[in-house]
Structures are given as structure tokens and as C-alpha cells.
């Protein structure tokens, strides 16, 4: 393919006079050495400061952007973060996690199952065509059409139809009253029907958002430019480059060498190295993703609630967060949700570290000397931040309480296949879960008895969640979710751990508030001292 035939030796190199050769070689070497930094020095100022002067940012993404069709992806950290700059949605989840306006300026519920949205009068696509009620209706029909097999569809279980009221007003109808509809709508990016008829949304984009794509290759770099004719608030950052850096060391070295301005989702293990660099600003917070070890309550030793409680007592969560996660997070108070979710219950407390109590509970359940508890703990390799380290620490602590743990590290694909398809979850498995719309009902839905994710058949929990989902009033609903949360704390279908830590690094001088829900939007960024 590209094997050049070796060139014949040049006479000069094999000349018989070593001194002439050496001189020439030394000259060549010297010239080469002098040239390299000179060449590098000639490069345009591709440093954070240079980019700040030009209102540019370079963002490192942990995975490739795979599609430009916003309805055919659910990856928030990559695909959707990029596309949210290009397309607009009816409503958006702001950096403070509240729902705010985007293409719709206001909305209200006119009937329990009918929401009315008033559209921004100036909202328009890059080609000048207006974003009006017809556009919204077409997009909802595209989303709901089963023949399109769009991945976003399952985030809208209750959405039934859209009806045009007038040019700037549109109604969305749901089958049942759905308090989570707005959260879901912040994921629904609107395409232009006329444009989509003649283009492939998977590989091309034309939206009504603050930026337009100037360069895209599938899985490669993506470049954005701010639109001069954008109808909303113009972003401070004018040009954006997304660099695909799947490996953690590449992200870290990219930050340290000044090639990247913003990276989300770093490993806490790299904190010390990043903190040592004064040109970087580090932010850390809990993410909306909860990490825990799922227990198979349907089969094997974990059917016994005493065993489930015992493993919860046996593990010192605080020691793990302090050492392995560098104090980036605090242990969960016996909760399946992080406190960003609507429906989160305050006032619960986690299982304290109490190895004696763990041993006592295990004895009670019939385990002990001569008959030790043996379990398998599965972890997907390389999938979760610090996942394998955490699992090893947990196994070590469980063994101190007399539980013998076999760690089973498998590729994520195999892990998912066994978990969901073959229904063959081992006694324990490390997992992190989040629900994109930040609704308690969504994440709790993964624990109700008929969910393939649950491996837990608990009528009290299931009934509380089902009733909460039907309940309109906020207070009554939260009370039901509190009942569910307390039941989960008591029955321990999981070994409660901690929220997945979010570690974010930005170049010094770049204003950006890191957010717990994976969105990285250049429109929220600005350089200190720069106009806008």
C-alpha cells in the first residue's frame, strides 16, 4: 500500500572520509535541531491566550460525534452538546438546571394533557425560513413515527401529537398528565422540514441555533462558527473546535500543553497533576449519575435482606471517596438519586461503616466460619470513571467482613448483554445510572418490579413510584417519592455508594460554569476581559 522502495544509498553518506562525513552530519543535525523549534515557533498562536483574543475555544470530547441528527442520538456529553449549539429546542435546561425558554417564549398547561407553547416571533433557521407552529408539528410527527425508528422517541412515552393553534402557537398533547414533558422537550431539537426533505440530517445540519457547522467529518473534528443573523442572544465565543480525545491521558496532556480549553468528565486520579498547572482552572461537583453496586435480589444469597444490609455496613464509603476519588464527592445518604432530581428526598442517611454489625447480620443469615458467603462482583472494564478501582476496594473491604468476592471484569458490551438480554446479572455488579430529564420517576422506573433493569421485585416501592407518576400535585408526589426512597434505603436493593464525580478543567480566563448533567455548551462560555 504505502511501502516505498528503499532508496539506493547516496554516495555522500558512504564516503570513505569519516571527517567530512561527520562535519556534514553535524551540520545537518544542527540545522535540523535549529529548524524544529523555529517551525513550531512560526505556528499561529494556538494557545489559550491566542484563542481568547480571537474569541475561539477548543473543547476536548471524550467520544466521537457520530451523527448530526439530533433525534437519533441520546449521548448528551458528545452528540447532543454539539448539536444544541446548532439547533434550538422549545425549552432548554439552563446551567442552573431550571427549565428556561428557547424557541418557545412561554408555555402553560391549558388542560391536564395539553400544553400550549408560544413561539419566539423572530425564531428562524439559518436559511431564513421561520421556526413556526408548522415546524413544531412536523418535528413531533417525525419523532413519533415508529417507521423512523429514532432513538430519542423513547424519552417521550406520553407524547401523543402536536396541533397548530396559529402561526406562533402550538399545542402538545399527551396521553396522560406528564409532569416530565418539559424536561424531555429540552432534548427535542427542531429540524427544518423543507431542508430535511432535501438533505440527510445524519451527515448535514442546518438549524436555528446560535452556531453553524463549518467543518464535520464523521467521528473526526467538528468546527462551529457563531451565526451573525442568530435571532436570540449572540454568544461571546465566535468559533468552536471540538477535538475528539477518547483517551484520558490525551485529554490531560491536551490541557497541560494548552491545546484544549475545556474538558469535562476527567478522572479524579488526575486531579493533582491538573491542579499543579496554574494555567488551568479545576471545577468539581457531583454529577446527576449515581454510582452503586446492584444486588441481584431475585437469585442467590442477595435474596436475603440481611445479607444486602450486611454488605452495605461492611463497606467504608468515606474511605473510598477520600482516597480513590480524592474527596471529589461525598457518600450517598442511602439514595438512588442525586439531589439534582425533582423528587429527591431530603433527610435520609446512609449505612454507616460497621463491620461488626455486618458480620453479625451475616451470621444471622447463616454465613460464617466453615460456610463463608461467596459472591461474584462484575464490573465493565474501562467504562466508568474509576470503576475498577472502586470495585477492588469494595471487594477488599467485603473480604474483611468475611465475604469472599470474585471480581469479574468484562467488556461493557458483554456486561450489558448479560444484564439486560440474558437476565444473567451476577450477585453484585458495579453500575452508574442517570435519567436525562432529571425526573425521579424516570430513574426510579429502573427499579420497579417489571423493569428489566431492576432485579428487584418490591411491591411497596413499585406501588409508590407508580402512584407518584400519576399524581399531579408537587407536594403529594414528593411525599410518595419519599416513601419509595425510604423503602429502597431499608430494603437495600443496591450497595449504596456515591454520585459519580464530575471533574472539569478549563483554561484560566475562560468563564464557564460546569454543570452536573453532561451538557457542554460553548454559548455558555466567554473569555475574561473579552467583549460580549
Amino acid at each position: 500500500m504505502n511501502a516505498p522502495a528503499p532508496t539506493p544509498p547516496t554516495p555522500g553518506l558512504s564516503a570513505p572520509h569519516p571527517w567530512r562525513l561527520t562535519r556534514r552530519g553535524a551540520l545537518g543535525l544542527g540545522a535540523g535541531l535549529a529548524l524544529t523549534p523555529a517551525l513550531a515557533g512560526c505556528l499561529p498562536g494556538d494557545t489559550p491566550r491566542g484563542r481568547a483574543d480571537a474569541s475561539r475555544v477548543t473543547i476536548g470530547l471524550s467520544a466521537a460525534v457520530t451523527t448530526l441528527d439530533p433525534m437519533n442520538t441520546t449521548s448528551v456529553g458528545t452528540d447532543l452538546s454539539v448539536l444544541s449549539s446548532v439547533y434550538s429546542s422549545l425549552v432548554t435546561r439552563r446551567p442552573d438546571l431550571a427549565i428556561g425558554p428557547d424557541a418557545a417564549t412561554s408555555w402553560r398547561r391549558v388542560e391536564p394533557t395539553r400544553w400550549r407553547f408560544t413561539l419566539h416571533r423572530k425564531a428562524a433557521f439559518a436559511d431564513g425560513s421561520p421556526l413556526d407552529a408548522d415546524v413544531v408539528v412536523w418535528n413531533v410527527e417525525r419523532l413519533l413515527n415508529a417507521a423512523n425508528a429514532l432513538r430519542m422517541t423513547s424519552n417521550f412515552p406520553s407524547l401523543k401529537a402536536a396541533r397548530k393553534v396559529d402561526q406562533h402557537t402550538v399545542d402538545l398533547l399527551t396521553t396522560t398528565p406528564d409532569a416530565d414533558l418539559l424536561g424531555a422537550l429540552s432534548f427535542l431539537y427542531l429540524l427544518s422540514p423543507r431542508w430535511a426533505a432535501r438533505h440527510r440530517p445524519a451527515t448535514q445540519a442546518m438549524g436555528s441555533g446560535p452556531y453553524e457547522i463549518t467543518d464535520y467529518s464523521p467521528g473526526g473534528t467538528v468546527e462551529l462558527r457563531a451565526r451573525d443573523d442568530y435571532w436570540g442572544r449572540k454568544p461571546a465565543i465566535r468559533r468552536v473546535t471540538y477535538r475528539i480525545t477518547p483517551s484520558e491521558p490525551a485529554r490531560v496532556s491536551g490541557l497541560l500543553s494548552g491545546e484544549l480549553d475545556a474538558v469535562a468528565g476527567l478522572d479524579p486520579q488526575d486531579l493533582d497533576r491538573l491542579r499543579a498547572d496554574r494555567a488551568l482552572r479545576i471545577q468539581r461537583l457531583d454529577t446527576t449519575r449515581m454510582a452503586f453496586i446492584k444486588l441481584n435480589t431475585l437469585k442467590g444469597p442477595m435474596r436475603d435482606v440481611r445479607v444486602r444490609r450486611a454488605v452495605n455496613y461492611a463497606v467504608d464509603k468515606r474511605a473510598i471517596t477520600a482516597s480513590l476519588l480524592k474527596n471529589t464527592v461525598r457518600p450517598s445518604p442511602g439514595q438512588l438519586l442525586t439531589d439534582y432530581y425533582s423528587g429527591y428526598t431530603d433527610g435520609l442517611s446512609g449505612y454507616p461503616h460497621d463491620p461488626d454489625r455486618a458480620r453479625a447480620l451475616l451470621r444471622e443469615a447463616g454465613y460464617g466460619k466453615g460456610h463463608p458467603l461467596k459472591v461474584t462482583l462484575r464490573v465493565p472494564s474501562g467504562q466508568y470513571v474509576a470503576g475498577e478501582l472502586v470495585v477492588q476496594a469494595v471487594a477488599q473491604q467485603l473480604s474483611e467482613a468475611g465475604v469472599s468476592v470474585r471480581i469479574d471484569s468484562v467488556p461493557f458490551t458483554v456486561y450489558m448483554q448479560k444484564y439486560l438480554q440474558e437476565k444473567a446479572m451476577p450477585d453484585m455488579q458495579y453500575i452508574t445510572q442517570a435519567w436525562p430529564t432529571l425526573a425521579a420517576g424516570g430513574l426510579y422506573g429502573l427499579f420497579v418490579s417489571d423493569s428489566p433493569y431492576a432485579y428487584w421485585d418490591d411491591q411497596e416501592f413499585t406501588a409508590a413510584v407508580a402512584e407518584a407518576r400519576r399524581t399531579e400535585g408537587r407536594t403529594a408526589r414528593d411525599a410518595l417519592y419519599a416513601r419509595a426512597a425510604r423503602r429502597a434505603r431499608d430494603q437495600a436493593p443496591v450497595l449504596f455508594l456515591f454520585p459519580q464525580p464530575g471533574v472539569y478543567a478549563t483554561a484560566e480566563g475562560l468563564n464557564w460554569r460546569a454543570r452536573p448533567d453532561d451538557w457542554v455548551r460553548p454559548a455558555d462560555m466567554s473569555w475574561k476581559g473579552a467583549a460580549g
Binding site: M1, A3, P11, S14, T36, G219, R243, E259, Q417, Q433
Partner: protein
């Protein structure tokens, strides 16, 4: 020559088929991609629908034959994640890998020639003559990914001279190509140097010197004689190089087919993995084919014997 070519080509096809079958079976035994594609919380019947729509609920044998039937006609199904023909995605990325591998191979070959000529054209000579080989040995003893990390640290993080990721500027290729070349250079340089020494010790070189040829001419003749085994190693190393691109492209975020293969595997994007690996495998056997043909050019004996070279 025709017989030689057909024999080589049919063996090549057999190798491609065998490699692809292995990949296919390993891939499809790791589960149904519909499970990974469906968003969190999707009910089982939705997952089953998706699996059916994609054809992954068919018996394995049926999937196998339909894959090879399609592949023979040059047709690959759409990538599951990119939602466009897998082959298009691969072709868009192929150029970057060919460029990287080509530059690395050319650099390694040229350096190997230089090192070989410098250290091999003369017996003895001590440190002043032997030092390039020490560097070569060092490069061989250190694993490639470590060299990559080291280069990133020195030239990217410490000196800020060269970009460490992506393929945005002309200098972006320097570090990944250097890392790749470090893996290929040592065996090439060693084989060339040792053969050069051997050729110089043979009677024809002595005769040349005795007839009054200049040292440079004698070395040139000997160098031609040493090329054949060097080309063999070059072919083998070019294959290893293609494997190396998978790691190097990941370390340096180089947007080629190696990085694509990793992404596709992580996403369980079977069609893309198969299309991607088809290209890597084809490239591998093609390089070996070219090397075989190069023997014919470099060594007339191979051509005239009408038999395989090995």
C-alpha cells in the same frame, strides 16, 4: 509470472476470508448491539423491535452468509451509530491513516538506511561509529505507547513545540509518526546493517576492492545485495505498523481508521467494525503481496523460478 501472481492472489483472498470470519464470529458472540443502542429504560419489546429491524435476531449462520454475500458485492450495511454507509465512514478516515503510516514507514526506512550505512559499511570503529545502533536498541527496548507518552510530555507539555492531538496543523503528524516509526526502525536498521556487513565480507566485495573500485561503489553494490532481506522485514513491519496505528491513533487522537475501530467496538457498531477491519486486513495482505512482488523486481531468481519465494 502470471502463475506466480494468481497463486499469490488466491492465497491473499483466502487470508482475507479467514480473518474476516474470525472477526465476524468473535464480534457476534459478544451480544446483540440493539441492547447498547436502545436508550436507558427502553422496554424489552422496543429492544426486540430494534434488534429485528437491524436483522440481529436472525440465526448466526444466516447473518454470516448475508454479510459475505453483501461484502463480495462491495456492499456494507449502514453503520449503526453514524447512520450512513459504513464504507463511506471508513473511506473518509482512510486517508489519515494511510498518510500517518506512510510517513512513519518512509521515515523509518530512510533512517534505517542511514543508520545501517553509517554503522555497517565499516568493520569495528567503536563508539563513534556504533552510537546510532545504541539509540536503535533503546527504541526497540521501550514499548511504543510509552515512547508516545514520553514524546507528548517532552514536546507537547514541557516545550509546547508540537501539538499532541488531532490532525489540524501540518506539524500534528510529527509526534504520532515518530512514535510509529520508533517501532519499525529497529528491526529494519538491524537487518540492513547485519546484511550489509555480511555482503561486504563476501568475495565479490573483496574482488571489487581489489579491482580498484572506490569504497563508496563497493558499499553501494553490497547495499543492493542487503536490500532483499530488508524488504522482507519491511513488509512484516508494515503489517505490524497497521496494528500499531490503532494504539497510536488513540494516544494522539489521530482521526484515522484505527481510532475508528476502537470507537466502533466500544459502540458495538458491528457493520462499522467489519467494514473498518476489512480495510485493515486488506491493507495488511496487500502490503505482503506488494512485498512478494518486490522480490521479483529486486531478485530476478524469484521471477524466473516460477515458484513461490518461500
Amino acid at each position: 509470472m502470471i502463475r506466480f501472481l494468481t497463486r499469490r492472489l488466491s492465497l491473499t483472498l483466502l487470508a482475507v476470508w479467514g480473518a474476516l470470519s474470525a472477526v465476524f464470529l468473535v464480534l457476534h458472540s459478544s451480544g446483540d448491539p440493539a441492547v447498547m443502542m436502545a436508550p436507558i429504560g427502553a422496554p424489552p419489546e422496543k429492544v426486540a423491535q430494534l434488534s429485528h429491524a437491524l436483522g440481529y435476531d436472525r440465526p448466526l449462520a444466516e447473518q454470516y452468509f448475508s454479510f459475505f454475500g453483501d461484502a463480495l458485492r462491495g456492499h456494507f450495511p449502514d453503520s449503526l451509530t453514524f447512520q450512513q454507509p459504513a464504507i463511506e465512514v471508513v473511506l473518509q478516515r482512510l486517508g489519515a491513516t494511510v498518510l500517518l503510516a506512510g510517513v512513519a514507514l518512509a521515515a523509518a526506512a530512510l533512517l534505517a538506511l542511514a543508520v545501517g550505512l553509517w554503522t555497517g559499511s565499516r568493520e569495528g570503529g567503536g563508539a563513534r561509529r556504533e552510537w546510532p545502533m545504541w539509540v536503535v536498541f533503546l527504541a526497540q527496548s521501550v514499548p511504543g505507547f510509552y515512547i508516545g507518552v514520553l514524546l507528548v510530555w517532552i514536546f507537547g507539555v514541557r516545550l509546547h513545540w508540537l501539538p499532541t492531538s488531532g490532525a489540524t496543523t501540518a506539524t500534528s503528524i510529527v509526534l504520532p509518526a515518530a512514535t510509529l516509526a520508533c517501532g519499525v526502525l529497529p528491526p529494519l536498521a538491524r537487518v540492513f546493517r547485519n546484511n550489509l556487513r555480511g555482503e561486504l565480507a563476501r568475495p565479490y566485495s573483496r574482488t571489487g576492492t581489489a579491482l580498484g573500485m572506490s569504497r563508496a561503489r563497493v558499499v553501494r553494490h553490497a547495499a543492493y545485495g542487503s536490500l532483499l532481506p530488508t524488504v522482507t522485514v519491511l513488509g512484516l513491519e508494515a503489517g505490524a505498523l497497521l496494528g500499531g496505528t490503532v494504539i497510536v491513533e488513540s494516544v494522539f487522537s489521530w482521526p484515522g481508521v484505527g481510532q475508528l475501530a476502537v470507537t466502533a467496538l466500544q459502540n458495538q457498531d458491528y457493520p462499522l467494525v467489519l467494514a473498518d477491519l476489512t480495510f485493515l486486513i486488506l491493507a495488511f495482505v496487500l502490503v505482503n503481496l506488494i512485498v512478494d512482488l518486490l522480490y521479483g523486481v529486486l531478485d530476478p531468481r524469484v521471477r524466473h523460478e516460477g515458484r513461490g519465494p518461500r
